[in-house]
Amino acid sequence: MMTQEELKALNVDKSVDARGTACPGPLLEAKKAIGTIEEGEIMEILSADEGTKVDIPKWCSKQGHDYLGTVEENGYFKIYMRKNEI
C-alpha cells in the first residue's frame, strides 16, 4: 500500500475510465485492460461506483496483482494496481 502522495506521483501505464458503468462494469473493464499491459506496469481504474474500491483489491489479491491504493477525487475514485505475472 502507498500513501496518497505516492499514489498521486505515480506514473501510470494504463488508465481505464469506467465511470460510465455500475457494478460489475468497472471490474469487467479492469479485466479487459489487464491483458494489454506488461508485468510490473501500473494501471489506474476510474470508477464512480463505491463498491469498486472494495472489489478491485479483492480481485487483485485473487489474481496475485498488487493493489496500491485508492485516491478519492470529486465524485469518483482512482484505484491503482500493479500487474504481476500469474
Binding site: A22, C23, P24, G25, A30
Partner: protein
C-alpha cells in the same frame, strides 16, 4: 543400526506417499468454479444471478448456471415460437413471461409498473440491461445449462430459447456433479 534406519526411512516414505495422495485429492476436490441453480423467474433474482455470475467470471472463476423451473422464462426468445405443443404446454407458454424483458419483480411488481421503473433506474445508474448481461456472459464464457426435466414439464422446446453461445441441456445430476467440484454454490 543401518537396518533400523532403513526401515524408518521406508516408513517415512510410506507416510509421505499417503500424504501426497491426500493433498492431490484435496487439490482436485474444489475447483475455482461457481455453480448456480437459478430456479426463480423473477426479474430481480435473474438479474442478481447474472451480476454475480459476471463478477465471478471477471475474476477468472469458471461459472456454470443451471437454469430450472420458472427461470426458463428468462431464456425464451421473444421472437421465436415452437410448433406441435399440446394444450397444457400452449397454456404454459401463454401464461409465463416470454423472455427476460417480460419478467416480473418478486416485490413491488404493481401490474408491470415496478419493472418499468426498475429498468428506468438501471439505465439511469448505468447498470447493464439484462440483454447486455446475457451478451457479456456469453463473451466471458459463462455456461448456461438448461434443466431438461423442467423443460419437458412446462412444454418448452429447444427451438424457442435464445441464441446463447454456451447453452447446453442436462439433468439434475449434472448440477450436483458440477456443484460438488465447485468452490462455491448458489441456489437462487
Amino acid at each position: 543400526m543401518q537396518e533400523e534406519l532403513n526401515s524408518q526411512i521406508a516408513q517415512l516414505q510410506e507416510q509421505l506417499d499417503k500424504l501426497k495422495k491426500k493433498v492431490g485429492k484435496l487439490e482436485n476436490a474444489r475447483k475455482d468454479q461457481l455453480s448456480m441453480a437459478v430456479v426463480s423467474g423473477d426479474l430481480d433474482k435473474v438479474m442478481a444471478s447474472m451480476i454475480i455470475g459476471i463478477a465471478a467470471a471477471a475474476m477468472d472463476t469458471k461459472v456454470k448456471m443451471f437454469f430450472s423451473f420458472w427461470a426458463l422464462s428468462a431464456l425464451r426468445d421473444e421472437k421465436k415460437s415452437a410448433k406441435g405443443k399440446n394444450f397444457i404446454s400452449k397454456m404454459f407458454g401463454i401464461m409465463l413471461p416470454k423472455g427476460k424483458n417480460a419478467l416480473k419483480l418478486s416485490n413491488m411488481n404493481m401490474c408491470g409498473m415496478g419493472p418499468v421503473m426498475i429498468k428506468h433506474l438501471m439505465k439511469k445508474n448505468n447498470v447493464l440491461s439484462l440483454d447486455d448481461m446475457f451478451r457479456t456472459a456469453g463473451e466471458l464464457g459463462i455456461e448456461i445449462i438448461v434443466c431438461e426435466m423442467s423443460m419437458g414439464l412446462m412444454g418448452f422446446k429447444k427451438e424457442e430459447f435464445i441464441d446463447y453461445p454456451h447453452l447446453s441441456y442436462a439433468g439434475a445430476a449434472t448440477f450436483v456433479a458440477d456443484a460438488g467440484e465447485s468452490a462455491a454454490q448458489l441456489f437462487i
